[in-house]
């Protein structure tokens, strides 16, 4: 019996412990706002899975989240902390909107939407490459370059929504003139679930997993991320690898942005990225850059996001609780990991 237990790696205990402490922390926070954790859990469950409408919404949030997370897998594998993902999503959304606005009326919607997504890819990838250039040639840390570019992109979106692309007579946060119904991705029944968007996201996830796990490209990326110098000495074109990881991440983010336009909002709104990029960063850090775990965690996070809307509805609580849960899970996971390493080192 004892020998059996000792076979479980020590780190597992730390992970379980971290998870338990995170739950405890969340319970305390809920209790501080004089609510019952059980009610909150039930409410959120109901909020996410209580009706087909809501479940559809979980899926429709899941799609861009998956795409952004897939993109981030590439940059994290290359050892880069792409905080600019929000901006890359926005850039994709702007590019897609640009294309849909430019397309003449009466154009085949299927082709128009396809082109819009392609434009999103292009826009996001360009934005990613720009961050890469700043990082590699400008020596600006990708963290701050990304952060700065997020705000800049936000400014661009605002400029467009309030300036050249504003609705006649109106200029508001509600965005540009909505596109005609034909120009949106078909939904499943009367819900917000777009099977095509989901298909794209799943394909992206499979693509990412295959590239990272089974191709020379993915391996080279990992080599660059783990030891830039040695990878270079071994003959791997390190700069090209880094730039392409930025470009791929941007491209995925761009798809996410264009889906936000063609499948969710049907227009450009200033906050088109909707914090999904940051959320994806949390997802990817929590799964420790392992593509196989992205789907369940992204699903959990998207359920939390959607489910939390029930809190103000039925419990008069603020829906920001979902962010607290997501953050706490990751924070304690990181601290637990560190503690595990520390005890291991001091033991040896």
């Amino acid at each position: 019996m004892i020998s059996k237990i000792s076979k479980i790696p020590k780190i597992t205990y730390f992970r379980i412990g971290a998870f338990a402490i995170a739950l405890l922390f969340i319970a305390v926070v809920i209790w501080l706002s004089s609510a019952s954790p059980v009610q909150v859990a039930a409410g959120m469950w109901n909020g996410a899975f209580g009706s087909s409408d809501r479940f559809a919404r979980v899926i429709s949030t899941l799609c861009p989240l998956l795409l952004a997370a897939c993109g981030l897998i590439f940059t994290f594998t290359a050892g880069l902390y792409n905080l600019g993902i929000e901006g890359q999503i926005t850039a994709g959304g702007i590019a897609a909107t640009f294309l849909l606005r430019a397309i003449p009326e009466g154009f085949s919607p299927a082709i128009a939407i396809t082109l819009a997504i392609l434009a999103g890819i292009l826009g996001g990838a360009l934005w990613g490459i720009l961050a890469g250039f700043l990082n590699i040639y400008g020596k600006v840390s990708e963290i701050f370059a990304g952060l700065g570019m997020n705000f800049t992109t936000q400014g661009l979106a605002l400029y467009l929504v309030f300036g050249p692309w504003k609705r006649s007579g109106v200029a508001s946060m509600s965005g540009t003139e909505p596109f005609s119904d034909a120009l949106s991705l078909p939904n499943f029944g009367n819900t917000e679930f777009s099977p095509i968007a989901l298909a794209i996201a799943i394909v992206a996830l499979i693509f990412t997993t295959v590239i990272i796990k089974a191709t020379y490209f993915g391996l080279k990326l990992k080599a660059v991320g783990n030891n830039l110098r040695a990878a270079y000495v071994l003959g791997i074109p390190a700069i090209a690898q880094m730039l392409s990881s930025f470009a791929i991440c941007g491209a995925f983010a761009g798809i996410a942005g264009s889906l936000q336009v063609v499948a969710v909002f049907h227009r450009l709104i200033p906050n088109i990225s909707s914090n999904l990029g940051f959320l994806a960063l949390l997802v990817v850090m929590l799964v420790n850059y392992n593509p196989f775990l992205i789907l369940p965690i992204a699903f959990l996070f998207s359920s939390l996001n959607v489910g939390s809307l029930e809190l103000p509805l039925s419990l008069s609580l603020d829906s920001s609780l979902s962010g607290i849960i997501q953050g706490a899970l990751l924070l304690f996971a990181i601290l637990g990991e560190g503690l595990a390493k520390l005890t291991k080192n001091s033991a040896s």
């Binding site: 089974a214 191709t215 020379y216 490209f217 391996l219 080279k220 990992k222 080599a223 783990n226 030891n227 110098r229 040695a230 990878a231 270079y232 000495v233 071994l234 003959g235 791997i236 074109p237």
Partner: protein
């Protein structure tokens, strides 16, 4: 101040850096510590200066035992150390560097003397310190300007500043860890003058070096270390220079390694395959100048010298990893000088770094993944997807052939140093024109070393050239056809290995090659 170290031991994991070391330094004397790379000299010095904590042993100052746990303790006890690699703040000014750490010491001292620590710390004043620095510099004939930024100074000047700083702290014991490695001849003269002056004032100096002539010139007594242990101790005054040098070389490098079979190449008729002209390479600390070198195919060139004297610069330049300032490097008819690194790889040049996990192998990747990477970066890369079965097979073969203790899935950082080196070697491309190796057999047992050299020599028979750096003189003498000796960025004429003795080579490395 009389310094006594008694039975000091220190291990890093499996490495026994210091083992049961005892020594005594009389007040007013200069005590030399000699030893090959990795002998444990710096470790001993750092223990005395509180930078690392000893595992066991005692330290006595003027006969009383002291507890030295941190650098602050050491400075309070009057011990200061000039580190081997400059340990200062390049982005700060000379004056700031001079001042840094002073208040901590003041507080510590005040605590010991039970005075108000804040008052003492506040007594430090910029003008006053500027004056003190200038006076000290003048007294030793150093030319230092308080407002200069440190990064604009030479290594020698930085050392001078550090010494002045330590002296102004009232240090009675001064440890100098290889202070002569990166400095000019005139700076060395100034340094020696200062050291002698300090000794005459009654301070004790510990002088760590590899250089025989420096030790001879400066020290009153010395000890020689090898592999963490003391292998000899000797008085210097009054001994014959040549006889002393011979015995020291003998102690430093040891002779117990069995000599493997000598290389028997027929080099006379092969054509010149590598030529270097008017090369000037600028490194961080020193620049290397090499007027002319031609190498025939199949030839093995040993680069001898103590670490940090320019060997690595030449190696990196030949590998394409460092752009020379001037000069040309040609492989056959191909002028490689300004080509990108990948072209060097294509031209059949490979580099085998000494720091395996830093420059050669990738932490977090398995042996098999390294073979996949080799596959990916080779010119004949086949397809996008990883060919698992093929690479597994290749990896298995390599593990068997190179006798690597590990599985294909073992992460390289889990391998022992020797097996990491075997992995590095096993990853070399099959066909090479020039192989550049740093410390090729460091950490390997004799049998594996022989085996590796056998492999290398077979390759040389087919025309591959080798440049290699080794701190093991026997290895250099044994396998080189010709030897270049490096000292302070200068390179000796190529010496024929056949006509060279260990003694002669040792002396050349000590700087006596003209």
């Amino acid at each position: 101040m009389k310094v006594e170290l008694c039975h000091i031991s220190k291990s890093f994991g499996n490495v026994r850096a210091n083992h049961d070391i005892s020594m005594t330094v009389e007040a007013g004397s200069v005590y030399g510590i000699l030893g090959e790379n990795g002998a444990g000299k710096s470790t001993l010095s750092k223990i005395l200066s509180g930078f690392i904590t000893k595992d066991s042993g005692r330290i006595l100052l003027n006969g009383t035992e002291v507890e030295i746990k941190t650098p602050a303790d050491a400075i309070c006890a009057g011990i200061g150390m000039l580190h081997q690699d400059p340990l200062d703040f390049p982005s700060l000014s000379v004056l700031d560097n001079f001042m840094a750490g002073r208040s901590i010491l003041a507080k510590q001292q005040a605590k010991q003397e039970r005075r108000n620590p804040v008052k003492k710390a506040n007594q430090i004043n910029r003008q006053q310190l500027t004056r003190e620095l200038q006076q000290l510099a003048a007294a030793f004939g150093f030319d230092l300007h308080p407002s200069d930024r440190l990064e604009n100074l030479t290594v020698g000047e930085r050392q001078q500043l550090e010494i002045l700083r330590l002296l102004s702290l009232g240090v009675q014991t001064l440890i100098l860890d290889e202070p002569t490695t990166g400095i000019s001849a005139s700076q060395k003269t100034a340094l020696f003058k200062a050291v002698k002056q300090l000794a005459s004032e009654g301070k004790s100096i510990i002088f760590v070096s590899h250089k025989l002539e420096d030790v001879e010139e400066l020290c009153d007594r010395l000890m020689v270390m090898r592999q963490g242990e003391v292998v000899g101790e000797s008085e210097i005054k009054g001994r014959d220079s040549a006889e002393l040098a011979a015995s020291l070389v003998d102690m430093m490098f040891g002779r117990e390694m069995a000599l493997p079979a000598k290389h028997e190449g027929k080099l006379e008729e092969s054509e010149i395959a590598l030529s270097i002209h008017d090369l000037l390479i600028e490194g961080d600390r020193l620049s290397l100048q090499l007027d002319k070198l031609t190498v025939k195919s199949g030839e093995i060139i040993g680069l001898a010298g103590l670490e940090g004297n320019g060997q690595q610069l030449l190696l990196l330049a030949c590998a394409g990893l460092l752009k020379p300032k001037t000069g040309t490097i040609r492989i056959g008819d191909l002028d490689m000088t300004h080509r990108p690194y990948r072209q060097f790889l294509k031209a059949g040049i490979a580099y085998l770094p000494a720091d395996r996990l830093q420059d050669g192998l990738i932490r977090g990747l398995s042996i098999q993944e390294h073979f996949m990477l080799r596959q990916a970066s080779s010119i004949s890369q086949s397809g996008i997807f990883i060919n698992w079965s093929e690479t597994r097979q290749v990896t298995h073969q390599a593990i068997e052939k190179f006798n690597i203790r590990g599985k294909p899935a073992s992460k390289v950082e889990r391998l022992s140093g020797g097996n990491q080196q075997r992995t590095q070697i096993s990853l070399l491309p099959d066909y090479l024109n020039l192989l550049l190796m740093e410390q090729p057999t460091r950490g390997l047992d004799i049998e594996s070393s022989l085996w590796i050299w056998k492999q290398m020599m077979e390759r040389c028979e087919k025309g591959m050239m080798i440049f290699f750096i080794s701190s093991d003189l026997d290895e250099i003498l044994q396998y080189s056809d010709r030897i270049l000796v490096f000292s302070g960025g200068k390179v000796s004429q190529p010496m024929d290995a056949k006509n060279l003795s260990v003694d002669r080579l040792g002396q050349a490395i000590g700087g006596k090659f003209e």
